[in-house]
């Protein structure tokens, strides 16, 4: 019998199957450097058919496998924790169809998020979900994680914008999920698949919704002398019935890092926190709502509220916001980008507590997050070479998770459970709930070969 490597080479060609340990190093972790595992091989399929044929080979040899887009994930989801084969989908990066009449596009999984919006911008459309990594992350990865981004507040997550998928199941069969523009009938397998973190199969074709660009957009910068004031302003905006398209907070540590980097956006470095607030829609509504947002911010102690005067100023603010993780990454060897969600009214209570946790463990923390939907990103700067510090990071993260769950929150709003948060799952779900999830997973992947070791506590996954 041929080795599985030889079989993969027969399907894909020698140069598209790499097993040289030096070259595999690039695939030992994703955007979260805490978890490192070398795959046995990485392959570069170029079509659904190649993916399916490769999956069949691996299923027959009982070799685990997983798909990977740009590797920008932040939960260790694209790491080969049990060895096996990584399907690098970067070459499946064609936009297959753009259909303005039905307001949809059909893409391959390796298409970069921002590339889609750029392809349709001229015609007056955009693709709404915009993770901070949108210049690099792929739509296939977005589907796996049910990715979010600042504009989720108004427009919803990836799951609200995907209309259909072509999926290679872990046994190599190809199925269509969702209606690809019209409604599907039956159980909502499309909704179930999105956010399954690569454990249900490999999406090889994605139909997404395109949205009409709004008539007007205004972006505001409000700065505050205390994080609590900024948090109360956020709650007040939401409670006033205004639905901004984005409502982001950056604290002083983040502002300082951003202003010292290439992403410098002219943020006031003496502020305790700034809010970036974007309102879009019809010109008439935007004017009306901007006035109210300014009023609310002032009433909650904003020192200054500035409205970006033009597209360049707006772009600069967003470059600062979206470059924040990169800027923070520069100031220490490692960065733990945490992700948790709380009911938004709890912000003024929870945020100070998170700073206290970091202080107690002697850690440097910066918060930059989607305040409008209560999606926190406490980021911890640390040195991964110092095992004692790593332990403190882990202990602080656990306390943060416990705190968020205690106030009615969730473990992750957009980064996923991956490898990193499996241990916390019992904080949120009962044994029965986790058992049900494990059984649903087994419907898609009875042999437990597809991205094993992720999402659910390991003992629930079948051994092989």
């Amino acid at each position: 019998m041929m080795s599985w490597i030889a079989e993969l080479k027969a399907i894909l060609g020698d140069e598209d199957v790499i097993a040289d340990p030096e070259r595999l190093l690039a695939y030992e972790c994703d955007g979260l450097s805490l978890h490192k595992h070398l795959p046995s091989a990485v392959i570069f399929p170029e079509s659904a058919e190649e993916v399916a044929r490769a999956v069949k080979v691996l299923a027959r040899h009982r070799v685990p496998f997983l798909a990977r887009g740009a590797g920008t994930g932040l939960s260790g989801g694209a790491v080969a924790v049990q060895g096996g084969v990584i399907f690098e989908l970067a070459r499946m990066n064609r936009i297959l169809a753009i259909d303005y009449e039905n307001q949809l596009a059909v893409v391959e999984p390796g298409v970069i998020n921002l590339a889609l919006t750029r392809a349709v911008a001229e015609a007056g459309y955009f693709y709404a979900p915009d993770p901070s990594s949108q210049m690099a992350c792929t739509l296939g990865g977005n589907v796996a994680e049910n990715a979010g981004g600042p504009h989720c507040l108004k427009y919803g997550m990836t799951g609200h914008h995907v209309l259909g998928l072509e999926v290679v199941l872990p046994d190599g069969t190809i199925v269509m999920l969702g209606g690809h523009g019209a409604d599907a009938v039956g159980y909502d397998l499309l909704g179930l698949f999105i956010g399954s973190e690569g454990t249900f199969g490999i999406a090889t074709k994605i139909t997404v919704r395109l949205m009409r660009q709004p008539q007007a957009v205004k972006t505001l910068l409000a700065d505050f002398l205390s994080v609590e004031d900024a948090s109360r302003a956020v709650s007040a905006i939401i409670a006033a019935g205004i639905l901004p398209s984005a409502l982001e907070m950056m604290d002083r540590a983040t502002i300082e890092a951003v202003e010292a980097s290439v992403y410098a956006a002219g943020l006031p470095t003496d502020a305790a926190a700034v809010l970036i607030i974007e309102v879009d829609g019809l010109e008439a509504s935007v004017v009306y709502e901007v006035e109210r947002v300014v009023e609310i911010c002032r009433a909650h102690g904003a020192r200054q509220v500035v409205v970006a005067r033009d597209e360049a100023e707006r772009a600069r603010l967003w470059a600062g916001r979206k470059g924040a993780f990169g800027a923070l990454g520069r100031i220490s060897p490692d960065l733990m980008v945490q992700d948790a969600v709380i009911p938004r009214s709890k912000l003024p209570e929870v945020l100070p507590e998170i700073y206290r946790i970091a202080a107690r463990y002697g850690l440097r923390m910066a918060n930059v997050f989607h305040a409008g939907d209560g999606n926190l990103h406490p980021n911890i700067c640390f040195d991964g070479r110092d095992p004692e510090e790593v332990e403190r990071v882990k202990a602080a993260c656990r306390e943060i998770m416990e705190l968020c769950v205690r106030v009615g929150g969730a473990l992750t709003g957009e980064h996923g459970i991956g490898l990193d948060k499996i241990a916390y799952m019992p904080l949120v779900f009962t044994e029965d709930d986790l058992e049900a999830m494990a059984r649903v997973r087994a419907v898609f992947d009875p042999e437990g070969l597809c991205n094993p070791g992720k999402v659910l506590p390991v003992r629930r996954c079948r051994a092989f």
Binding site: E101, N102, Q103, N146, C152, V175, M176, G179, G181, A182, A184, V185, G186, Y187, D188, L189, L190, G191, L192, I194, G195, S196, I238, G241, I242, L243, G281, L282, A284, S285, V287, Y288, V341, I342, P343, R344, S345, H370, D373, G374, N375, G408, G409, A410, T412, G413, E414, H415, G416, I417, K421, M425, F429, D433, A436, M437, V440, V443, F444, L456
Partner: protein, 445 residues
């Protein structure tokens, strides 16, 4: 084979769970689903009681059909068996409502109208307008993922469910999702239960995210003698920056119920926005109507709201034996509407048509001319023809309501596609003994 259950034992057991006042045995006629009359109707008052009923039912292999208000029970295939009809009527509490978070948690039997009455003073709401919204329970709306014209601007109930609690066929409880608006903690099992028509579990609690209630509203009704110019108008709106909350074609029969003195084809455009944006959009519509030589009638605030309430009650206002949903690609809406009209007008009297060009949903309803010779055969032929034509164009033809004689010979859902084996496997996991609404859903699940 299971021997037919002893009625008196079932009654005794149900009474021991929920009390004699909350069991109807034998079930009165009005609780029959299609031609099946349940042995008993049960009204549990707590989640524990629901669990006990299911535990008992599964042990005895009795078929259980969960029910909200009951007005959508005939949606889908006729159930193979109905032993116990489980009403959520007494599970109707609003459990948590935190206006500052724009989230709420309710028991499944809580009615949409009652909920929105509580939320409106906070200028918040659940933006759902399914047919008969004044009767519908939130559990029923979620179980059927039922929607109305607001789907155009606000999406489906699916998009608002952030957590559920379900009692499974064996009586165990399952929670999915949570209470926050953004959450990817574990698999999104919410999605399995939304729109599963009571075939995977009994929804007992649902957590929603809400929307701010808009400050102003208006509706512009464009009227014309034929579809062409109304379609031009809708295309123009869809390609513009306007943000209608609903966009709906209505044929003369439907329009005559809404505007008795204007029995014409119409395009109804609803705006829910800030006051200046509503005024701006109505002005734009006036200009559009002028340029296309269409008549325009507009309604603001209460008058607009009441117009749409009438749309939601059309099925009650007009005699309806048959109600069909065509779901197609949005760009095919008008073609599907015309095809549906053509195919069904020989079979229906007072045929009404409502269609959403933004979402590709077409509803056609009316009274059957079944009394005529071969009436039924002709309907069956028309339905089969429509299904063949539209399934080949990514569409579906779904029976929302039909006489049993039709439903016995025409599957309510049609072709599921390549993912059917996965659906079967999921049904097997959650309901291995097939006691939950057996046969009602796609492919007889």
């Amino acid at each position: 084979m299971v021997a037919s259950p002893e009625v008196s034992t079932v009654e005794r057991e149900l009474i021991s769970i929920v009390g004699a006042a909350n069991v109807l045995c034998p079930a009165p006629d009005e609780y029959a689903i299609d031609d099946r009359r349940p042995l008993a109707v049960v009204f549990p008052g707590t989640i524990e009681e629901v669990a006990a009923v299911l535990h008992f039912a599964q042990a005895r292999e009795l078929a259980v059909v969960p029910m909200g208000s009951g007005h959508r029970l005939s949606f889908g295939n006729p159930p193979e068996r109905v032993d116990i009809l489980l009403s959520t009527r007494r599970l109707n509490r609003m459990l948590e409502y935190e206006p500052a978070d724009l989230t709420a948690s309710v028991e499944a039997g809580c009615r949409l109208e009652a909920f929105n009455r509580e939320a409106l003073p906070h200028r918040q709401w659940l933006p759902f307008d399914p047919p008969d919204a004044d009767r519908a329970t939130l559990g029923g709306i979620v179980a059927t993922d039922d929607f109305g014209p607001l789907r155009h601007g606000y999406g489906r109930p699916r998009d608002y469910v952030i957590g559920v609690e379900v009692v499974r066929a064996d009586g165990t409880r399952l929670r999915a999702g949570g209470r926050v608006v953004k959450n990817v903690t574990g698999y999104d099992l919410n999605k399995l239960f939304v729109g599963s028509f009571g075939t995977l579990g009994v929804l007992v609690r649902v957590n929603f995210k809400l929307r701010p209630y808009p400050e102003a509203e208006a509706t512009a009704v464009l009227l014309g003698p034929e579809w062409e110019r109304l379609e031009t108008a809708s295309q123009h709106i869809l390609r513009s920056e306007l943000l209608p909350a609903a966009l709906l074609f209505s044929n003369a029969e439907a329009t005559s119920t809404l505007l008795p003195d204007r029995p014409q084809k119409a395009l109804l455009v609803r705006f829910l926005e800030t006051p200046p944006a509503v005024a701006y959009q109505v002005d734009r519509l006036r200009a559009l109507a002028r340029s296309l030589s269409l008549d325009l009638v507009d309604f603001t605030n209460d008058a607009s709201r009441s117009l749409w309430e009438t749309v939601g009650r059309l099925r009650r206002r007009l005699p309806t034996d048959l109600l069909l949903r065509l779901s197609v690609l949005p760009a095919h809406t008008m073609a599907a509407l015309r095809a549906g009209e053509r195919a069904l007008s020989p079979c229906l009297t007072s045929m009404y048509v409502l269609a959403q060009p933004g979402t590709g949903i077409v509803h056609i309803g009316g009274r059957l001319r079944a009394e005529e010779a071969n009436g039924l055969a002709r309907v069956m032929e028309a339905l089969a023809h429509l299904r063949t034509a539209w399934e080949s164009r990514r569409g579906h033809v779904i029976l929302e309501q039909a006489p049993l004689a039709i439903k016995r010979n025409f599957d309510a859902w049609g072709d599921v596609g390549s993912s059917l084996p996965l659906m079967r496997a999921l049904k097997q996991i959650f309901d291995p003994k097939r006691i939950l609404s057996p046969g009602r859903f796609v492919a007889g699940l």
